[in-house]
């Protein structure tokens, strides 16, 4: 399992959670944070790598109404879309560059 939940948020409803990502770091954390922070309903979103020698990344989401899990899924989907778009655009530009 790559994702788990940090205990402590059981009493505060589904709107706030801290997820622990195994084997992830700033690469995913920062990119994902940058998307999720700009969602309408999100009150707070941030990430931390608690210790440099452990390959773990903590990802905190707090929202007003939407469940945090839903926001996380939406963020991952959007990041995936960004990657797809970047690849398409880059491949198109390389083709164009090789033509000229």
């Amino acid at each position: 399992m790559k994702i788990s939940e940090l205990p402590g948020d059981e009493d505060s409803g589904a709107t706030c959670r801290t997820y622990v990502f195994q084997n992830e770091s700033h690469t995913l954390g920062n990119a994902l944070k940058c998307i999720i922070n700009r969602y309408e309903d999100v009150e707070f979103c941030g990430y931390t790598v608690p210790h440099p020698a452990e390959s773990k990344m903590h990802f905190r989401i707090q929202t007003r109404k939407t469940p945090a899990l839903e926001i996380l899924k939406r963020g991952l989907k959007d990041l995936q879309k960004v990657c797809d778009h970047t690849m398409d655009l880059f491949e198109k530009e390389v083709k164009e560059f090789n033509k000229s």
């Binding site: 690469t27 920062n30 090789n98």
Partner: protein, 331 residues
């Protein structure tokens, strides 16, 4: 003062670096994929088998940095991981020699190989490349008289990466060619020897990623910088123009036939802020950088062309998102 166009900037002032007054760090706007896709541009500036320069325009620094980090530490490549030393009588120690061999870039395309399972003791033809290096230094029998040059006196006194021989496993010989799996450069000096010294090594190369060891990184460098922008606020002529020109990298400031300075190509400026040393011209320029215009420089080590490395990096991030999503959906 001429009005600067509407781009997010950092102003490089004499004693500080300051965000433009109307720039809130691109964090305020709401996320909108359509708008993102519309604003994003990529321009390839230079591309060959080893080097690439391209512009990534209109994206958040977080994405640019993610791509850079991915290229450096998560795109796989092949490198020598294990060295079986059957004989080493040279003066270079076993562990140092093994480390040197590990750092030799291999031409093998990592996309054609799989990761070797952690518990595997022997490699298969799908995840391992094996090489041998067997060199013995001896006296040169036909050495010219009165010569003291080592290359005349001895045979095999320098061991080069071109002397590494590939030993195909299983069906590998029909799938790969020796020139496509061996060292990228044949002239890498591995060791120096004298008569009686001998190397007899068996090398095992596997696929890995830069996070594990830098030798697995497919890029020599992958970096980005922000596009510099220079604006002249008044006419600069004569001696001041030459002085202004000397404050920037060559080719950045040009001087026209009437002796007037103009901005020729701000792109390759180093943003040194040398102008601010001269009171007479420091009021004539505004130095800034465009905050969403990233100039990427990717230098491949030789296994994959740099454009493929970038695509692989983005693909890795995409696949990461996908597998995490799958896991969350089954929760």
């Amino acid at each position: 003062m001429p009005k600067l166009d509407q781009k997010p900037r950092v102003m490089l002032e004499e004693f500080r670096v300051k965000n433009a007054p109307d720039d809130y760090g691109m964090a305020d706007e709401k996320w909108n994929f359509k708008k993102f896709a519309k604003n994003m541009r990529i321009v390839i500036v230079r591309l060959d088998n080893f080097e690439m320069e391209f512009d990534l325009i209109g994206v958040q620094p977080a994405f640019a940095n993610a791509f850079r980090r991915l290229m450096l530490s998560e795109v796989p490549s092949m490198a020598i991981e294990k060295v079986m030393i059957k004989n080493n009588t040279s003066i270079i120690q076993d562990e140092v020699l093994a480390h040197r061999l590990g750092l030799i870039p291999l031409k093998a395309d990592p996309r054609l190989f799989e990761y070797r399972p952690e518990d595997a003791t022997v490699g298969t033809e799908f995840d391992t490349l094996e090489f041998s290096l067997k060199v013995k230094c001896s006296n040169n029998k036909s050495q010219p008289k009165d010569s003291f040059r080592p290359e005349d006196l001895y045979e095999n006194h320098s061991v080069y990466s071109s002397q590494i021989k590939w030993c195909p496993l299983g069906n590998q010989a029909s799938v790969h060619k020796e020139a496509d799996v061996g060292p990228v450069h044949g002239d890498i000096l591995i060791s120096k020897m004298r008569p009686g010294h001998e190397l007899d090594l068996h090398l095992v190369a596997v696929k890995g990623i830069g996070k594990d060891h830098a030798k697995f990184s497919p890029v020599a460098t992958a970096s980005y910088r922000l596009l510099p922008d220079i604006t002249l606020t008044r006419e600069v002529t004569g001696g001041e123009a030459t002085l202004l020109q000397s404050c920037f990298s060559p080719g950045v400031i040009g001087i026209d036939s009437e002796g007037r300075a103009f901005v020729q190509e701000a792109r390759y400026d180093t943003c040194s802020r040398n102008v601010y040393r001269y009171d007479e011209i420091k009021d004539s320029v505004i130095l800034s950088r465009i905050r969403d215009h990233f100039i990427f420089n990717v230098e491949s080590v030789g296994a994959m062309p740099p454009n493929i490395i970038f695509i692989q990096a983005v693909k890795i991030l995409r696949d990461k998102c996908k597998s995490l999503l799958d896991e969350l959906n089954t929760l």
